[in-house]
Symmetry: C2
Subunit: 190 residues, 2 copies
């Protein structure tokens, strides 16, 4: 099972892919006129519920935010929501994969320079989704999940259900061992 | 009581100011060769312990990260740790204040263009700190806490101890009422 996230403070897309099928897809929204700390807490609570519901996920795939000079405030909010998703995954020992937008476009359309609507059409064919999600962020989250699936970011199409199964990849095992070692001894105290 | 934070993934400075005295100061560090999600989780756990220890704080003052083209990776990590601090404060109903580096320099030295060592010297005089912290990030966190104290970001020099006292500012009351309303009803479900 793979959870895909297109991070954002105003709209955070999510999609859950299991054995090639979409089992959950949507967008978590916050109000732009709320204080930023409220909105971060709200997206944290939304993502926490999602990860708790799909706790056996093999991978959390996140679209890596891009830094531009033109949208510093948006970029920071996006980076912050991505960071929150990452720490929630680390808490649950779910391996994280980050993909840049060109990597996602290349994986689902065959071209790193594909347009938004080309990505949406390609995604709908890949998962046999008749009704495209109306919000682009949801489609983008699904595209990221598909990218992880195709690039082997997680055990493809397998819902492990528990944390210790023979279907874990070698990378996942190493990741979880490292996390366990850190949680057991190396956290610094105040 | 004011908690000041100079956010960073590798080094996150913190300082706690109470009635004009420094009651806690230091730096939370993470290893650069660990995975980013581990480091975010580690800084999250460090900051959570700090905010739990000083749960009656009137304000969490954070140095606002600056976006530059030259350090995109550092800027993202910094933004993410700032975001984590903000959501931990929101969870605990501690009001958040963000200050830019020039605002902090102006508040503690009288010049928005002051150098790092001028800030350190000014800070040490303001709080009668004989031994300057050896790590700049700790001094910077103290400077942010002092800025909040001087600019009225929190009830100055008062340790409220509880969440409902007559020493709360009007802004703090409004902030907490808004947060309570949000927590009570408006969180969107999956």
């Amino acid at each position: 099972m793979i959870i895909g996230i297109d991070p954002g403070l105003t709209r955070c897309g999510f999609a859950v892919l299991e054995a090639g099928e979409v089992v959950e897809i949507g967008v978590f929204s916050t109000r732009q006129d709320d204080l930023q700390e409220f909105r971060l807490l709200e997206q944290h609570n939304n993502l926490r519920r999602l990860l708790t519901k799909f706790n056996g996920a093999d991978c959390l795939a996140i679209e890596r935010p891009f830094l531009t000079r033109h949208n510093p405030d948006t970029a920071f909010g996006t980076a912050q929501v991505a960071g929150i998703a990452m720490l929630l995954a680390a808490e649950r020992e779910i391996p994280v994969q980050l993909y840049t937008p060109p990597q996602v476009k290349l994986a689902v359309t065959g071209s790193g320079a594909a347009k938004k609507d080309q990505v949406a059409v390609a995604v709908s064919k890949l998962v046999d989704l008749h009704d495209l999600p109306k919000v682009a962020d949801a489609t983008d989250a699904l595209a990221v999940a598909l990218t992880a699936s195709m690039r082997g970011g997680a055990t493809q199409g397998v819902n492990s259900g528990s944390k210790q199964t023979s279907t874990q990849t070698e990378a996942q095992k190493l990741w979880k061992d490292a996390l366990r070692a850190q949680n057991n001894g190396n956290l610094r105290q105040i």
